[in-house]
Symmetry: C2
Subunit: 356 residues, 2 copies
DNA sequence: ATGAAAGCGCTAACAC
DNA sequence: GTGTTAGCGCTTTCAT
C-alpha cells in the first residue's frame, strides 16, 4: 500500500536502492551521481553504492531525460545513405567520438524528401536529442531546416548558404592543388586534361537531384590554381554524361582519345578514373607510361586496377569524428572546418611520355 | 500558482492544448490518440485537434515512453561497421522498414569488445528500446549476450548456437550452388578450382578475430553439392593468406598458375576474384576465353574490371529490411530466414578453352 | 547532513 | 460522456 515497487515490474529503481541502503531517494541520487553540492557522508555514499551493486541497479535513462531535458543522444540526419562506403565511415567516425562522451547515435535517412525530413526532425526533437549532425552525401550548399535549429547543429559534408552554421567538409580545393602538384612534380607541363565536368545546363544525373556538387567546382579550382602558379594551363575539361561512374568515364575519355593524346588525366572521382583506364587500354595506351591518371575519393577501386590508382582520399571517418566532436564540445563556434584529403599514392603517375 | 506552464519553457504541452480546447488533459489525450474506449463527442475531438494545430502541439515522446515503456526505437548493434558498403546498405534496408512503422534507429558499433558491448546494451535497455537487431559483418555463429534477451532480438547475418533466436542470413549455400551451376551451364566439367580457403589452423587475418566465417563453409558446401550432382568434382581448393583481399587473391592464384592451368575459378569473394584477374593477366591468360571466373558479394568491384565479373550478390538492403520487419511484426517466431543471393551477370564466364 | 515533496509531460485507471 | 487523479523514475529545491 505504501510506496515501493520492489517486485512490481521486476525493474530495480532508485527507490529500491534507497530503501536497501536505508536512505532517502534524494540522498541515493546524490550519492550515485557524485554530487558535492549537498554533503553526504563518505560512509553513506559507500552504502548506497553497495546497495546499487547488490541489486544490479541501472538508472532509467528515459526518466532522467524527462527530468533534465538532456538525452545523451545525437542524430545523424543524411539525405542519402547511398551505396558507397561514404556514410559508413562517417557514421563510424561519429560513433567513435560519441563513445567517448557516452552518447548514442540515431541514424536517419531523409531520401531528399523535405516533408518527411521535417517530420522526422520534429520526432527527434520530441525525444530531446541533444544535437544534430546534418549530412549530405555530396559536398554541397544546403538550406538547413528551420526546426532543426532548436538544437545545436553541425553540418557534415555540406555548408549553409551564408556559412553561419558550423560545418565540417573535406578540403576539396587543397586536394585539387595536390592532384595538380603530383603531376607537376612528375614533369607534366601540358596536355593535362580534367575529366568530369557537366555540360552546360546539366547538373548531373538522377543521383544529384539537381544539386551542384561543390566537389567539382572546388577540385577544379584547386587544380587550376596550382597549375597556374607553375605557369601551366589545363588543356581542357571533358564533360561527362550524368553520373560520375565507370561507364561514363570510359565513354568520355574515349571521345578525347579519338582526336588527341593527353599527357595526364585528372578525374573527378575514382570511378571515372577507372573508366579512363579502360578507355586508355582500349586505345592501346599504357598507364602511367603513356598517360598518367589521378582520381579523387580514395575508394577501394584504387586497389582494383593495375597499376594502382593515385587518388586524393575523402577522410570519411575523420569528417564524422570531427563533426561529432564539434557538436559535443563547442556547439556555438560557427566555423567551417576543412579536413585535409590525404594523397594515397598508387602507381598511376610517371614522367610524361615525351621525356622518358 | 495554479497548474499550467503555457510560457514556462516555451514548450507547448498537452495541458496547454486541453486548456485552449476547454477540456481535461485526459480528454485531450484520448482525442488526439483517437482512442475509442472512452467516448468523446465528435465535436470535442475536432475542438482538441484545432487547438493542437493552432498551438503547434507536438507530443513529448520522452514522457510518453516513460509512461508506456515503449519508445518506438530499435537498436542496430553490430560488431564492426567496417569499410565495405555492407553495413551501409543493411542500415538502409532497416531504415526503410522502420520508417513504415514510424520507428527510429540507434546505430551502435561494439568493435568486438564484449565488455563495452554489455555496457551499451544496458544503456539501450535503460532507454526502453523496443528491440535489437544484432548484426555481424561476417556471416557466423554468435553467442548472443544474455542481457539483450530482455527485449526482442533478431540476428542479422549471423545465427545463434542452437538456432533458437530469430535470424536473417544470406542463403550462402544456394549461392554456392548457383555459382557452380553457372559454370556447369557454360560447359565446364573439370579443372574447376575454389579460391579462398584458410590453411589448417588459420582462421583468417586480423579482421576475423578468430571467427570462422560461415560464408566460406556454406558457399563451398553449396558448390560441392551442385558439382557432385552433375558428376563433377572440384579440382581443388586454394588456400589464401589471412584476409580475402585483392593482393592475397592474386598471390594465391599465381601459385596455382605456376603448376597448372584451371578451366574456371570460383573465388570466395569479389576482391579475391579481382586478384585472380590480375594473376591471370600476369600469366598471359584471358578471362573468360582461357579461364572463367566467378565471385561472391556483388560489390562495386565487379564493374571495375574488364570483363565485368559475374558474382553472387549479398542482398544487403533486403537483409536489413527483413530483419527490421521481423522485429516489428512477429518478434516471437524463432526462425531463420535465408535471403537469396541474386546472380549479377558479368562477362567473366564462357565455355571452357578446350571446347571453343 | 538529511529527508520530504514537487514536478518533467504523458497515459489510463477510476469516479462523476 | 467528461473530469479527477495517480503514477512512470528520476532530479532538485526547500525545509528540517
Amino acid at each position: 500500500m505504501a510506496s515501493g515497487s520492489e517486485s512490481g515490474t521486476g525493474r530495480v529503481t532508485l527507490t529500491d536502492v534507497a530503501r536497501l541502503a536505508g536512505v532517502s531517494r534524494s540522498a541515493a541520487s546524490f550519492a550515485l551521481n557524485g554530487r558535492t553540492d549537498l554533503r553526504i557522508s563518505e560512509e553513506t555514499v559507500a552504502r548506497v553504492r553497495d546497495a546499487a551493486e547488490e541489486l544490479g541497479y541501472s538508472p532509467n535513462t528515459t526518466a532522467k531525460t524527462l527530468r533534465t531535458g538532456r538525452s545523451g543522444t545525437v542524430a545523424l540526419v543524411s539525405d542519402f545513405i547511398g551505396t558507397t562506403s561514404f556514410a559508413n565511415s562517417m557514421v563510424r567516425g561519429a560513433l567513435q567520438a560519441l563513445r567517448d562522451a557516452d552518447a548514442l547515435l540515431y541514424t536517419v535517412e531523409t531520401e531528399g524528401d523535405r516533408a518527411a525530413e521535417a517530420r522526422v526532425l520534429q520526432n527527434l526533437l520530441n525525444r530531446d536529442v541533444d544535437g544534430f549532425i546534418y549530412a549530405s552525401m555530396f559536398t554541397r550548399r544546403v538550406e538547413v531546416p528551420a526546426v532543426i535549429e532548436r538544437a545545436p547543429v553541425v553540418l557534415l559534408n555540406c555548408v549553409s548558404p551564408d556559412d553561419s552554421v558550423p560545418a565540417v567538409v573535406p578540403d576539396e580545393r587543397a586536394a585539387g592543388e595536390a592532384a595538380a602538384a603530383a603531376l607537376l612534380n612528375a614533369g607534366h607541363r601540358d596536355r593535362i586534361w580534367f575529366v568530369g565536368t557537366f555540360q552546360a545546363g546539366v547538373t548531373g544525373g538522377a543521383a544529384w537531384h539537381g544539386w551542384s556538387p561543390l566537389a567539382l567546382t572546388e577540385r577544379l579550382a584547386g587544380i587550376r590554381t596550382a597549375l597556374h602558379a607553375a605557369g601551366v594551363e589545363l588543356a581542357g575539361t571533358l564533360p561527362i554524361e550524368r553520373d560520375w561512374d565507370i561507364a561514363n568515364g570510359r565513354a568520355s575519355v574515349a571521345r578525347l582519345l579519338a582526336s588527341s593524346t593527353p599527357s595526364a588525366l585528372i578525374c573527378v572521382n575514382d570511378a571515372v578514373a577507372v573508366g579512363a583506364y579502360q578507355a586508355l587500354q582500349d586505345a592501346g595506351l599504357h598507364v602511367p607510361g603513356d598517360v598518367s591518371v589521378v582520381g579523387f575519393d580514395g575508394s577501394p577501386l584504387t586497389e582494383a586496377v593495375v597499376p594502382t590508382l593515385t587518388s586524393l582520399a575523402l577522410p570519411h571517418e575523420e569528417l564524422g569524428r570531427v563533426a561529432a566532436r564539434m557538436l559535443l564540445e563547442d556547439p556555438s563556434a560557427p566555423r567551417t572546418e576543412r579536413i585535409p584529403m590525404p594523397l594515397v599514392a598508387g602507381a598511376s603517375i610517371a614522367a610524361p611520355a615525351g621525356i622518358r
